[in-house]
């Protein structure tokens, strides 16, 4: 009986809180008082440019009593010449911007102070829970009071796992200030992050929206020793690309960039990543969240599966990857299996030419050999051989299995770098030797094409009359110099070349007499694709070619459509300034042929362009035209034809 009476009383006392709202208010006020001394006002002077949301007054947080202050990177966006930090007691101290955390978008300042500054307590990041109180502080209104907004933690692991989300009102009134818990411990630093773009201030549009982000302070302080020494810290990159385009598919590696952390850790194509730091990774989105918060220089443990076995490795992430440097085996392949080999499996790749003084020649590969596989896998075609070779660095040793006159051989080959020169003579361009059933002849000869939607976009097309359905021709996209276009002259000039070297000509016609319209590239790319399919063009030998202003169009097309254009041949043409020159990538290798004279208009700039292309690891062949600017002569045209012939080299 006594128990029964006691029970409701106990329950009632437990459930009561006297005036709960008042208790909460008091707790919040106490938390604010605890961290207010470490919340500082930052005043910025003499910056460049004007940013609508930036006023020169912002908030910051003292993270160490010997004078270290963090703030949002966006606060320093206008490169102020002078930064002054005002403490809560009114003292002003000059501050220096020492380093930036590019992953968290947070900057570190150092104050010149002799007296110790107020200290803070940092909440452990893994204790942060969705639903807990989150109090945002700034010091932009009054210099002697903080401004406060109260909300909850709405989510964790946002922005690639780097930030938490709150519904307290976050705006330029508190960017750079702390987000604290009900005990006054600092959870995170407020910043205008955005889930959509990577700029430092891109989230400013979302201010006061109820969706605000902050970077856990514990994470930032892990990089403190580097930042306090003046070293910026960066998000870490692993260096793999997916096999599948679906973000929720299992993490099967499509390629691991040679030289990248993944590569050095031993990860290769077809490996499936299962765990990162013992955290299960069911799909690519989870991988991005696991890698997102890791910094360049940090190591991660990776569990993966290969051929049914579960293995472990460790990768040290980097801030940026080197451009892909194409390794060289030294052969020219046939595009597909020769007819007389028939049903033999695996299909493999027949060698049509071996480059002298190449790894292939040193290892004893001969013309006619059929390379069928590596140690671990078989090659169905030349693309698979190429992918395999491109998964290696120059200097790596590989093992290849091949058939020669019916006998299997095994060769060890040490790959070389991508420097090569166009041989003096070559066998004719490749063809499919098996006959097909196709009876209907393809449209050959010359014809005019135009864009049905925009009829002022026109092109002249020439297909050699004797083109066999078995051939895999190259495609030359010739951008003439804008101005007078003479159809017959164009045909007279290119027909013999096309016939001899087995290539199709696609010559877009500039609608304007003075200059090319870059917007035409879209239609030209479509037409190129159509011809590639129609005539079974060898996709490794699609070349954009131009002289002077035509060359600029060739460059633009190559950089905007790398999946179509595999070669660029320009004469007397600098890279146009608007072109976004991309670094070499294994997925779409591109070759460059740059010819110019020493006294031409842009001779110096062209030299710089060649240096830049080489820096980005694009194989670039140069041809000096002598003193006077001109187009290629007949010898040089032959050289160009042989260069086109070599574009599918491995």
């Amino acid at each position: 009986m006594t128990c029964l009476i006691l029970l409701p009383a106990i329950v009632a006392v437990r459930g009561a809180g006297v005036d709960l709202p008042q208790l909460e208010e008091d707790a919040i006020a106490t938390a604010v008082r605890r961290v207010a001394p470490a919340t500082v006002r930052i005043e910025l002077f003499a910056g460049d440019g004007t940013d609508l949301f930036s006023s020169g007054i912002a908030s910051g947080l003292i993270v160490s009593p010997d004078g270290w202050v963090v703030t949002s990177e966006s606060v320093l966006g206008q490169n102020p010449s002078a930064i002054v930090v005002m403490l809560n007691d009114g003292r002003r101290l000059a501050a220096q911007h020492v380093a930036t955390d590019h992953s968290s978008k947070v900057s570190m300042l150092k104050l010149a102070t002799e007296d110790p500054l107020p200290a803070i307590e940092v909440a452990p990041a893994e204790e942060i829970q969705v639903g807990q109180w989150a109090i945002a502080l700034g010091r932009v209104f009054e210099s002697d009071r903080v401004n406060v907004s109260v909300g909850i933690v709405s989510a964790v692991d946002r922005i690639l796992g780097r930030a938490i989300q709150t519904d307290a009102l976050i705006s330029p009134n508190n960017y750079g200030g702390p987000l604290v818990d009900i005990h006054g411990r600092v959870l995170a630093v407020l910043a205008p992050l955005s889930p959509e773009t990577a700029d430092a201030a891109s989230g400013t549009d979302w201010y006061d929206s109820g969706v605000g982000f902050a970077v856990p302070l514990e994470r930032i302080m892990n990089g403190f020793s580097k930042m306090s020494a003046g070293e910026d810290v960066y998000p870490g990159i692993l260096g793999i690309s997916p096999k599948s385009a679906q973000p929720y598919d299992p993490v099967v590696i499509g390629a691991s960039r040679p030289g990248s952390p993944a590569y050095l850790a031993g990860l290769r194509t077809d490996d499936e990543i299962l765990t990162v730091n013992d955290r299960l990774i069911p799909h690519w989105v989870a991988l991005r969240k696991a890698i997102g918060p890791v910094y360049a220089g940090d190591k991660v443990r990776i569990g993966f599966r290969r051929d049914g076995n579960e293995l472990q490795t460790q990768a040290q992430l980097v801030a940026e990857l080197d451009p892909f440097s194409r390794p060289f085996l030294g052969i020219l392949p046939q595009p597909a299996v020769a007819a007389d080999e028939g049903e033999m499996k695996p299909a493999g790749v027949t060698v049509r030419y071996v480059f002298s003084e190449s790894p292939a020649s040193s290892a004893g590969i001969l013309t006619g050999d059929r390379i069928v596989g590596s140690e671990r896998k078989d090659f169905a075609n030349r693309d698979e051989l190429r992918q395999f070779v491109f998964q290696h660095l120059a200097g790596d040793e590989i093992e290849l299995k091949l058939f020669r006159h019916g006998e299997q051989e095994q060769l060890k080959i040490k790959l070389a770098g991508h420097e090569f020169s166009v041989p003096e003579s070559l066998p004719p361009p490749p063809a499919i030797e098996q006959s097909t059933d196709e009876e209907s002849p393809l449209p050959a000869g010359d014809r005019d094409e135009s864009n049905p939607l925009l009829p002022d976009q026109k092109a002249l097309v020439y297909v050699p009359e004797d083109l066999s359905p078995d051939e895999r021709p190259a495609l030359l996209i010739w951008f003439h110099e804008p101005g007078h276009f003479d159809r017959q002259e164009m045909l007279d000039r290119w027909k013999p070349f096309a016939n001899e070297h087995r290539l199709l000509l696609l010559a877009p016609i500039s609608s304007d007499e003075e200059q090319w319209e870059p917007r035409n590239i879209g239609w030209i790319a479509m037409l190129t694709r159509r011809m590639m399919i129609q005539y079974k063009v060898d996709e490794r030998r699609v070349v954009a070619h131009g002289y002077r202003a035509g060359g600029a169009m060739a460059y633009l097309m190559a950089f905007s459509a790398p999946s179509i254009v595999s070669g660029v041949a320009v004469v007397e043409s600098p890279i146009p300034r608007r072109a976004e020159v991309t670094e070499a990538a294994a997925e779409h290798p591109q070759d460059f042929f740059v010819a110019n004279s020493t006294t031409g208009k842009s001779a110096n700039r062209i030299l710089e362009d060649v240096a830049r292309l080489q820096e980005l690891k694009h194989p670039t062949v140069t041809q000096n035209l002598g003193n006077d600017p001109r187009y290629l002569n007949s010898n040089e045209l032959e050289l160009l034809a042989r260069w086109i012939n070599c574009l599918d080299r491995i």
């Binding site: 009561a16 208010e25 604010v32 005043e43 002077f45 006023s55 209104f141």
Partner: protein
């Protein structure tokens, strides 16, 4: 006390705690309902070019005086006021205080619940508040105003703009962390959780400093004083000390001290010192070329223009304190213009 009595008393104590707790929570609907009866919807001019034709207001007397924001909505031949019980009245504009941007309307009604502006409630940063307004004109007829909750984020001087123009009121405001800056919300009320009036919700303004929309309310004492002025028919607000104008030859100019700043060619040219003429007060005070002026008389300045604007309010008969940045160090100097060429007073 014997064991037998302790338990029932303990029980009772527990129960009363329980009642107290739930009483606090149960109060909120009652508080809100109470406040709603004091609120009115106002309809007037507008509806063109993005200016809304509605806003909020509240009774400040039991004879039908309504306080609201002074805005274009009141610029109408007919101002309609709708009470919380749905009754509609035509209102008369009694007067407005253009500095505080508040206006008093009169409707012919008696015995209405109202706020007493003379009673001001203590509030500080962190105080929980409720904001009542007819934001977006959602409520019509007898429908109640929308209620939002938030805390007082800051108490500060208003420094705001509407579009290109600064607003005249530069006095104290509450800034809240609820998004009260909405069409139709001006003239609404900010109260404590007990329903006491803290202030009137302001207009759609941007914070001058960083261009963000400002969620603010004008505190009750300021409204009280403004209403007093309206009732007494006083039109000129007391002028701010800082607006005192001196004649051009009475105010400070840096060139008087031998200091020349860099040419002011941009909108916001940073105030770097270009030249300091030897033997002048500026030179003797230690100012040097490439110094950057950060504060004039303790006020932050971020451009040559701001420096000039600050100096215009200071008579050169008084010493001038400048805070400079040189080689990443702060330096404070005091400039005194002497009459007869004696050295200036060193700081």
């Amino acid at each position: 006390m014997s064991y037998r009595f302790r338990i029932p008393i303990f029980c009772l104590a527990g129960l009363s705690f329980f009642i107290a707790c739930s009483a606090a929570a149960a109060n909120l609907p009652a508080v809100i309902s109470d406040v709603q009866q004091k609120l009115v919807k106002i309809y007037g001019a507008g509806g063109l070019r993005g200016l809304e034709a509605y806003q909020s207001g509240f009774f400040i007397s039991d004879t039908g005086h309504v306080l609201t924001a002074w805005s274009t909505v009141l610029d109408s031949d007919t101002i309609t006021v709708v009470l919380s019980d749905g009754r509609r009245f035509e209102a008369e504009l009694l007067g407005a205080d253009l500095e505080v941007e508040t206006a008093v309307l009169k409707v012919e009604v008696d015995g209405v619940p109202h706020f007493d502006l003379a009673k001001s409630q203590a509030a500080d940063i962190g105080t929980r508040t409720l904001a009542f307004s007819n934001l977006f004109g959602i409520a019509v007829g007898m429908e109640p105003f929308s209620v939002q909750h938030g805390i007082i984020s800051s108490t500060t001087q208003l420094s705001a703009r509407r579009g290109v123009f600064s607003t005249p009121y530069r006095g104290n405001v509450f800034v809240v962390d609820a998004v009260t800056n909405n069409p139709g919300a001006a003239g609404g009320v900010l109260t404590t959780w007990d329903g006491y009036l803290l202030g009137m919700l302001g207009k759609e303004l941007r914070n001058d400093a960083n261009h963000t929309w400002l969620n603010y309310a004008i505190p009750t004492p300021v409204l009280h004083a403004a209403v007093g002025r309206i009732v007494r028919g006083e039109t000129d607000p007391a002028s701010d000390q800082s607006n005192l104008q001196y004649d051009f030859d009475e105010v400070w100019r840096l060139d008087l001290a031998g200091i020349l700043l860099v040419p002011d060619v941009f909108d916001t040219t940073p105030p770097f010192v270009d030249t300091v003429i030897p033997s002048t007060p500026g030179y003797k005070a230690g100012i040097r070329p490439d110094d950057l002026i950060l504060y004039v008389a303790g006020n932050l300045v971020q451009s040559c223009r701001q420096v000039a604007s600050r100096l215009r309010r200071l008579p050169h008969s008084e010493p001038l304190k400048l805070t400079l940045m040189r080689d990443n160090e702060l330096h404070e100097v005091i400039l005194v213009l002497t009459g007869q060429g004696d050295g200036p007073v060193q700081p």
